[in-house]
Symmetry: C2
Subunit: 252 residues, 2 copies
């Protein structure tokens, strides 16, 4: 079952104490939204908007399920989430991943429900922004709506880009693309962008990339044989950034 923000909200002050280097508010996908909501309210270096709560999602937990009514938009602070679509007969489609600083659930605002499930790949701390309450209240300003439209467009663009980047490409090109993508996304927070700690299984990553797990394995190994990366289980180090980029075809 999903952890309810209400229950977790009490632990708010607690989480601030138990460190782990979370990302800064300025690097978060909800930053502009929080600014609108907080109107300058701060606690230390962290914004404190009235509609924001903190919550923990244990590994494997579903943050939202497909079709659930919309209320919150989320942002990952520590950990990693998986966006997926479970089918009744067992298998799932992996649609994407979210790393620290990244936003989740935005497009549910207009639909009124989440069109996918969101699952924690590891123990993950998130911000939950009660957008439904905010939008229903009087506070719905033009600035707020402009911000929402912008955020949604950005997410749209992101989905379309990954759609373009992966379709019709050879296995090795897809893998290179995603490795560089991950490195860039992690690198926004930790500068050690050549060191990746994949939070997902090979099967999940392969599913996302649209290939068999075995194929992913062999592709990884080939990259290792070519001294482009080093693989230790889910720990991957990019040795030759340049040559990895050369495996990615045509960037518009």
């Amino acid at each position: 079952m999903a952890a309810t923000p209400d229950k977790q909200a009490r632990q708010r002050s607690l989480q601030c104490a138990l460190g782990k280097p979370a990302i800064a508010c300025e690097d978060c996908g909800l930053y502009h939204l929080c600014l609108q909501d907080a109107q300058g309210r701060m606690e230390g270096r962290r914004i404190r908007p009235p509609h924001l709560e903190t919550l923990h999602a244990p590994r494997g937990d579903f943050l939202v399920t497909a079709g659930a009514p919309f209320r919150y938009v989320y942002a990952v602070r520590t950990g990693a989430m998986e966006i997926c679509l479970p089918h009744e007969d067992g298998p799932v489609d992996v649609l994407g991943f979210a790393f620290p600083g990244e936003r989740l659930g935005m497009e549910a605002l207009g639909l009124g429900y989440y069109p996918y499930a969101i699952r924690a790949l590891e123990h993950t701390i998130l911000c939950a922004f009660d957008l439904r309450s905010l939008a229903q209240g009087r506070s719905g300003s033009r600035r707020l709506y402009a911000a929402l439209l912008r955020l949604m467009s950005e997410d749209f663009q992101r989905l379309q880009s990954s759609y373009i980047a992966l379709r019709g490409l050879q296995v090795m090109a897809r893998l290179s693309t995603i490795l560089l993508d991950f490195a860039g996304r992690i690198g926004k927070v930790k500068d050690t962008s050549s060191q990746l700690n994949l939070p997902m299984t090979r099967t999940e990553l392969a599913n996302f990339l649209g290939m068999a797990p075995e194929t992913l394995c062999r592709a990884l190994q080939q990259l290792e044989n070519d001294r482009i990366i080093r693989v230790h289980g889910r720990r991957i180090r990019i040795l030759d950034h340049r040559r990895l980029e050369r495996l990615v075809p045509r960037q518009p």
Copy 2:
């Protein structure tokens, strides 16, 4: 070069005269937007919102180019458009198609620019809604913004669905999916949903489906050999709707 709405706006009354059965306003993807804008203004059975213009795009014309600054959202009235991403070295990625009643360009609102090009597959009549002007003016009401968010979410959902529907599937499954998809989308306007007049070349359709044109050809022929469809060039008739559906795997 793209036809400018300004130039074409003069022809507005003209187009009403030169029939061709265009779709009704109620079936158009911009209906709710126009309602907001028109506030009940009508001419005959057609809504007449102040921010709406009519324009013609000759076959092959680019309605917008990738990266162009945002101003209009469009809706197809007659004809068909292709959403694509041209690359500098020649080839293009076909991202989708738009048939009568369907909306175009919505996600550019938040970005400020169009993240793709839109090209006319045949001579196409469109509505162009000057959303930038409307959003900049005082008239930006809560209702309007709510409508915009909803439209954008719907487009997001549509993209995600096609993304899911096509990735990782066998050629025959992808083809069946798209044939039924086209039939459904055309069928919303013309009830003869078993008769398709494809406005795009085999190469374009194959590109969209992520396969070689030759492969598309062979798949079409196999469907014809199995008496599931009949093919006359770009004219396709669906003979056995039931068996075609059976070729499409798992719908969530």
